[in-house]
C-alpha cells in the first residue's frame, strides 16, 4: 500500500483535483472568501500528505504533470487578450497608467514596510518582486542577491491571497469597471490572480493576462532602481 502511494504518478494529480473540487463545493455553500478553492486544495493536499507521511517530492511525482501545463496555459492567455484587442486599444491610456502606478505602488510599499520592519538589504530585495509572476520574480530576486526560495514562497502566498480577497477588495474600493478589476488582479497577484479574473469575466481575464506580462517586465526595470534604496 505504502509502495503504491509512493510510486503512483496519478495519485498526486487526483488528490489536487479532488481537493480543488471540494473547495469549490465549500465556496458555493458558504460564499466566504476564506473558502477559496485554491487555498482549500493546497491545505487539503498538505494535510493528506502529512497524515500519510508522504513527502513533497513524492507527491510532486504526480503533481508535476499538473504544473507542466502552466506554460501552455499561460501562452493561451493571448487568446482572450486577442479577442479584447479593440477594448484594449480604446482604453490604452487607462491601461498603461493603471499598470505603471500599480508597479510603483508595489515597489514603494515594499520599500517603506521593509524599512519600517527593519529588514536587511537581502530580505528587502527578496520581497521586491513579490507581485509578479514566479519565473520573472525568481530571476529578479537572484539578480539582486535575494533569497530565491523565500521569493517564490512569497509570490505564491501573494497570488493565493490576491485570488482570495479580490472580490471583497474591489467591492470595498468600489472598483467595478471590468478593465480596472482585471488590471488590479494581474498587477497585484500575477497568474494566480488572473485565474480569479477569468472567473469574473472575459474582459477581466484578458486585462489581467496583459498585466502579468507588462507588470512583470516593468518590475524588472523598477527593481533594479529600487535595489539601491535600502
Amino acid at each position: 500500500m505504502t509502495n503504491f502511494i509512493e510510486n503512483s504518478v496519478f495519485l498526486g494529480a487526483v488528490l489536487s483535483l479532488v481537493a480543488y473540487e471540494a473547495g469549490m463545493l465549500l465556496k458555493r455553500k458558504f460564499k466566504l472568501a476564506i473558502f477559496n478553492p485554491l487555498l482549500i486544495a493546497i491545505l487539503c493536499v498538505m494535510g493528506v500528505l502529512s497524515l500519510l507521511g508522504v513527502d513533497y517530492d513524492t507527491y510532486n511525482e504526480g503533481g508535476k504533470y499538473i504544473s507542466y501545463l502552466l506554460t501552455p496555459a499561460t501562452v493561451c492567455l493571448a487568446v482572450p487578450l486577442y479577442r479584447q484587442m479593440n477594448l484594449l486599444k480604446k482604453n490604452i491610456k487607462a491601461v498603461v497608467l493603471g499598470i505603471v502606478s500599480g508597479v510603483l505602488a508595489s515597489l514603494v510599499s515594499v520599500l517603506a514596510l521593509a524599512w519600517l520592519f527593519g529588514l536587511s538589504h537581502e530580505e528587502y530585495v527578496t520581497l521586491l518582486p513579490k507581485s509578479i509572476t514566479t519565473a520573472i520574480g525568481m530571476g529578479v530576486s537572484e539578480e539582486l542577491g535575494g533569497i530565491v526560495t523565500i521569493t517564490v514562497a512569497v509570490i505564491i502566498i501573494t497570488g493565493v491571497l490576491g485570488n482570495m480577497i479580490a472580490e471583497a477588495v474591489c467591492r470595498i474600493a468600489r472598483i467595478n469597471e471590468p478593465i480596472a478589476k482585471g488590471l488590479a488582479l494581474g498587477t497585484s497577484a500575477h497568474a494566480i490572480g488572473t485565474a480569479k479574473a477569468m472567473e469574473m469575466g472575459e474582459v477581466e481575464g484578458a486585462m489581467s493576462s496583459l498585466a502579468i506580462a507588462v507588470a512583470g517586465l516593468l518590475t524588472v526595470v523598477g527593481a533594479s532602481v529600487f535595489v539601491q534604496f535600502l
Binding site: 499561460t74 487607462a94 502606478s101 515594499v110 469597471e177 497585484s188
Partner: protein, 121 residues
C-alpha cells in the same frame, strides 16, 4: 483531430517560447515569450483564433488547479521562512491590498474621465 491540432499549436508556441528563453539573456520566462508570440501570430493572422480557441479556453479554465503543486511546495519553504515569517506575511498582505486598490482605482478614474470627455464633446 481538431483538439489534437489545437493542442499541437499551443505546445509549439510554448516550445518556441522556451527557445527564446534559452537564447536571450533576459529574466523573461518561456511562458511570457510564448504569450507574446501567440498574440503576434493571432494579430498577423498566421494563426486564426479558431485554430486554438477551444483548447485555449479549456486550459485557461483549469488553470487555477495548476497552482496547487506550487502551493503545496510551500511545505518545503517553511524552514527558511520561519525566522522572518511575521514581517514577511504582514508586508505581503499589506502590499497586495495596496497594489490592487491603486491599480484598480487609477485605471477606473482614467476610464471615467475619458468617458466624460467623450460625452461632453
Amino acid at each position: 483531430m481538431k483538439f489534437l491540432r489545437q493542442f499541437g499549436i499551443i505546445l509549439l508556441l510554448s516550445a518556441l517560447g522556451e527557445g527564446l528563453h534559452a537564447l536571450l539573456p533576459l529574466p523573461v520566462p518561456a511562458s511570457v515569450y510564448g504569450l507574446v508570440l501567440m498574440l503576434a501570430a493571432l494579430m498577423t493572422g498566421i494563426i486564426k483564433v479558431g485554430q486554438v480557441e477551444e483548447t485555449a479556453d479549456f486550459l485557461i479554465e483549469i488553470m487555477p488547479v495548476m497552482f496547487v503543486p506550487a502551493g503545496v511546495g510551500l511545505l518545503n519553504a517553511w524552514g527558511v521562512l520561519q525566522p522572518i515569517w511575521v514581517p514577511v506575511v504582514m508586508i505581503t498582505v499589506i502590499t497586495t491590498v495596496i497594489v490592487m486598490v491603486v491599480t484598480g482605482r487609477v485605471t477606473q478614474t482614467v476610464i471615467e474621465k475619458d468617458r466624460k470627455g467623450h460625452d461632453s464633446k
